[in-house]
């Protein structure tokens, strides 16, 4: 979204539809934010301005981008709040964020993100700070809104369950590198990257309760260590010499998608 802090260098290309975002003028890019792309940021508890009412924060988007009059914008804010499942929205618009519970704040953030009916909604860990029952509510809400607005969702999370629930395709990252990408069903059922597999197996599961977990040894690397080769190599059970020297190239997965591993786990490894 063009919000990197100073000092960050960005390489590569971001295409939205056919437009290259990197190449856009700052003004145009700003207009893009909210209109075509929206963000629900990681910590819902502090992403709302404590000094203005929730309603105004929603309305503000419409006022600035669409030039809608304040009254009208506030009315729309009420609609949006009710859309995200907040009870008594016409009262709630005039409340301040601290009067909202965590789940409600997350809903309010979603309402802001939806205000301009964007094509793409980036949800950065929308549920991590929330309780299990509320988390389920939000995921369901996101799913239903996706249908309703016909938008795409980019869900960023470490909750494999949430991915299973909501996502169609999945990209697994480790230390800033893409490890594996493919459609959810196949990646989860047959992970070809050792990291993906280890991750899935180390998660405690309700349906396999009591079983000893397959822990991934070692610790995640600190991003400042510039390592050669595959970043997962120090913790990988399958690593060979080549992994230390060379970052594996992405290769085609057997069921579609790509995987970046010298020893991608093919059928035969699942013996």
């Amino acid at each position: 979204m063009g919000l990197q802090p100073k000092g960050a260098t960005v390489r590569g290309q971001i295409l939205l539809g056919k437009d290259d975002i990197q190449a856009m003028a700052p003004r145009a890019r700003r207009r893009l934010n909210g209109q075509r792309v929206s963000l629900i940021s990681q910590d819902a508890l502090s992403a709302l301005n404590p000094c203005t009412t929730v309603g105004y924060q929603i309305a503000e988007v419409l006022m600035v981008h669409r030039g809608v009059a304040k009254q009208e914008a506030m009315a729309r804010a009420v609609e949006l709040l009710s859309l995200t499942g907040i009870p008594a929205p016409s009262e709630r618009v005039n409340h301040y964020p601290h009067q909202f519970s965590g789940g409600m704040r997350q809903r309010a953030l979603i309402a802001i993100a939806l205000a301009l009916e964007p094509e793409l909604l980036i949800a950065d860990e929308p549920t991590t700070a929330l309780d299990a029952t509320i988390k389920a509510q939000i995921l369901t809400l996101l799913a239903s809104l996706r249908e309703r607005f016909g938008m795409s969702i980019l869900l960023i999370t470490h909750d494999m369950g949430a991915v299973a629930r909501l996502a169609d395709r999945v990209l697994v990252m480790y230390a800033g590198q893409a490890m594996e990408v493919g459609d959810v069903a196949s990646v989860f059922a047959r992970p070809e990257h050792p990291y993906t597999r280890a991750l899935l197996e180390s998660m405690p599961r309700l349906d396999k309760h009591g079983a000893l977990l397959e822990a991934i040894p070692g610790t995640p690397p600190s991003p400042s260590e510039v390592a050669h080769g595959c970043p997962f190599q120090p913790r990988c059970a399958f690593a060979g010499d080549i992994c230390r020297e060379q970052m594996p190239p992405a290769v085609e997965r057997s069921n579609g998608g790509h995987v970046a591993c010298h020893f991608a786990l093919r059928e035969m490894n699942y013996a």
């Binding site: 299990a132 299973a164 069903a185 000893l212 991934i216």
Partner: protein, 338 residues
């Protein structure tokens, strides 16, 4: 409440005295208040009765703010309960004079949620782990104490070299190991783990859980394992207590509670836990609770869950359901319709 003790008895054979047993434990906080304010009363924990057998693990789950930490703090002797009793080896700790209580409670230690903030940033790892010995094993020489600290550190996988470091020079998982080592360095019998893995990276969580399980096997300590993550609790616990707004709503053997949850809240909780299986996840229709957790300063009358419950009826608003075994259920449930 008699029935409650009865129901507990049904879980474990009556014969031996449990390591820890609480009855009707309640904690009320007064919040706000000042020279001119009437303080608000907040029942963080309300009438909780649980028991932990030697060498076994009791898991406690519940949503944020339901009183898990308050309960663990009471059990660890950090917070005095407002009412109710805590029996350690059948001996009531709450009534004991200060010095005596301190001596008795030595057997109980704690592992904390935040690996970093549970270690003093200005002390070296070895010192941190040695400190419990400094406090109440003064009879040992410093050298002996050092040795013991290093040996337990070794057990949790911290090398001698790492023991010389400061906490911030360790990774989160290593820090949590240090926290575990500190809890186990003196002869303890019960370790209370308050969300010991929630602050850890997913890939490290499993290491710590496994470590705890392995240490239990070799040292024979009992755990009270608190978490909001049902899957994590399920993995490590023998028994599970499910809490909602300060009350235990379902209590029994882990497999009973997980596989055949009787309380509607437990059912919702089990349902809302996502399973990393896309086929299953996309096909199943989980039960989604409506509404939010009520404010603990003014909990709903009667059954505290009724505001979010799909089975709630008029009766629930009036009558507080007792935590008892109902019908043929092996576990105790606090619901009129279980």
């Amino acid at each position: 409440m008699l029935s409650l003790v009865h129901s507990n008895d049904s879980i474990k054979p009556r014969s031996e005295i449990p390591l820890l047993e609480t009855s009707d434990l309640t904690k009320t906080y007064s919040i706000g208040g000042g020279m001119f304010y009437e303080p608000l009363q907040l029942q963080a924990v309300s009438g909780v009765s649980i028991r932990v057998e030697k060498g076994r693990t009791l898991g406690i789950v519940g949503e944020s703010g339901c009183g898990k930490s308050t309960l663990s703090r009471m059990l660890a002797g950090l917070t005095p309960p407002t009412s109710g009793s805590i029996l350690l080896d059948g001996c009531d700790v709450t009534g004991l004079p200060n010095a005596e209580r301190k001596r008795v409670l030595r057997d109980v230690q704690m592992v904390f949620q935040s690996p970093y903030s549970s270690l003093n940033p200005r002390m070296r790892v070895a010192e941190i782990v040695r400190e419990p010995l400094d406090v109440h094993m003064r009879s040992l020489s410093k050298k002996e104490r050092d040795e013991r600290a290093l040996s337990i550190l070794n057990r949790v996988g911290i090398s001698r070299e790492m023991a010389r470091r400061y906490p911030h020079q360790l990774s989160g998982g290593q820090q949590q190991r240090v926290g575990i080592a500190r809890a186990l360095v003196s002869e303890v019998r019960l370790v209370i783990c308050d969300e010991p893995v929630s602050a850890l990276d997913v890939s490290v969580q499993a290491q710590v859980i496994n470590l705890l399980r392995e240490l239990q096997r070799s040292l024979g300590v009992a755990y009270i394992f608190v978490s909001h993550d049902l899957a994590v609790v399920a993995n490590i616990s023998d028994d599970i207590a499910v809490m909602y707004l300060g009350k235990v709503v379902e209590y029994g053997r882990a497999e009973d509670v997980l596989q055949r949850p009787r309380h509607p809240y437990t059912q919702a909780l089990v349902d809302s836990a996502n399973i990393p299986d896309p086929v299953l996840e996309k096909s199943r229709k989980p039960r989604i609770l409506t509404g939010e957790i009520p404010r603990p300063t003014d909990p709903p009358s009667g059954c505290r869950f009724r505001t979010r419950c799909w089975m709630a009826q008029d009766r629930c608003a009036v009558e507080v359901p007792a935590l008892v075994r109902r019908g043929n259920s092996p576990q105790a449930v606090a619901c009129h319709f279980a």
